[in-house]
Amino acid sequence: MWSFLANPHRFMGFSRFAIPICFAIGALLVGWSLYNGLLVVPPDEAQGGDLMRAMFTHVPSAWLCMGLYAGLAVASFVWFIWRHELADVAARAIAPIGAGYTALCFITGSIWGQKGWGQGWHNLILGDSRLMSVLVLFFLFLGYIALRAAMETRQKAAKAGAILAMIGLINVPIIKVSVDLWQTTTIHQPSSVLKIGGGSDVPEDKKQGMNPVYLQQLLWGFAGHGLLASALIFMLMRAEIYSQRSDRLLAARLEGG
């Protein structure tokens, strides 16, 4: 599919239809999961009562921001090796969306934390490994955006950004390891959706899978946000391609005059 989309013209054709579709379905799914999450499913007092409903935005965004950084790095890699211009356009578009979802994950998590961790929870944020690794991820996005913004020409921005994104990705695991070592105790939920992760020190009762009532909404929400994100990214990519074209036209006119 990507090889098919590698051609900008085909991409423009594809995205023209893809964007509205992704938008519609994504909005539907997100709305559905939110509706169920906020109104239908019973609040889980153990998880902070009604506040835990933030989960239905929080967890999907958490998964997404990680996935988006990976996507950024992959796109950069593709551009670096095969010089597919479209891959760079994609990388450029992914960055802000990824940063946005990272922030969303943090905010919703904080909202959740309000009750889940009692008052003064913000003290805990800086003490929690999972949270800090999200914070670091946010700064990886930030550095990428800043670097691109500082470069004068597209070519340079693309190359510099690609280098940074790639070394950033191979650093993510190390950062994760270090942050986990820094705080072995996390008040944060273990990865309970899939029963893995969380570390051996997590008590058994936390390890059992999540209540399917929530899980279902989570997955709907995740799918929905995924579609929304891709719609946004496609839009940014289109905008970028248009601006590139207009630049060329302008340049051509200058050549003439």
Binding site: T153, D247, R248, L250, A251, L254, E255
Partner: protein, 191 residues
């Protein structure tokens, strides 16, 4: 006389920003030739030279290099704290040459300010120091960007002599120049 080919550019083109500087440019330089790049300010001489030197990528076309090169750009490549002597000694070491530095300094008429930090040298003295690098190791192809800038009359004759001597020893020179020049060009390329 037509020596072997030292560098060959086929259908080379250059983009800057969104603008096209030149395209489909073919250039073949053989040993013994002195090729002058001519053209108005901003026509792309420096860009082409940097492409030939492998410093910036070609937008289109291919360049095949078959000989070692000396590069001398608009900037001299001197460090503020270096003296001409330490500068030349440094690059001699890097390039693995055991040439006599004092000899080079004398040839460039730089013995007097040989130990003055480059930050304090006059424009022409900086240029002379940079030109001294050409004498450190023997490299067939010289790529020079406006090499006569800031040189006084003596300096111009000196450089012209160096270039001719180099070409006689089956070397070649590609130089970007403005105005009239003291060197006999075997060919001129206008951008």
């Amino acid at each position: 006389m037509s020596g072997e080919v030292l560098i060959e550019a086929q259908a080379v083109g250059a983009m800057r920003g969104e603008r096209l500087l030149f395209r489909n440019l073919d250039l073949e330089v053989r040993a013994g030739e002195t090729v002058l790049l001519r053209g108005a300010n901003g026509s792309g001489k420096t860009t082409l030279l940097r492409q030939l030197a492998g410093l910036s990528e070609v937008a289109t076309g291919v360049i095949s290099r078959s000989a070692a090169q000396h590069w001398l750009g608009h900037t001299n490549g001197l460090k503020a704290h270096e003296t001409p002597r330490t500068h030349l000694r440094h690059w001699a070491r890097v390039w693995g040459s055991d040439v006599d530095i004092d000899g080079v300094l004398e040839r460039m008429a730089m013995t007097r300010p040989a130990d003055v930090p480059c930050r304090m040298l006059s424009a022409g003295q900086k240029r002379r120091t940079a030109l001294g690098r050409l004498l450190l190791v023997e490299r067939p192809l010289w790529l020079l960007d406006e090499p006569f800038n800031a040189l006084d009359a003596a300096g111009r004759d000196l450089l012209a002599g160096m270039i001719e001597a180099h070409c006689d020893l089956s070397g070649a020179v590609i130089a970007a120049l403005h105005g009239d020049t003291p060197v006999a060009a075997s060919r001129e390329v206008v951008l």
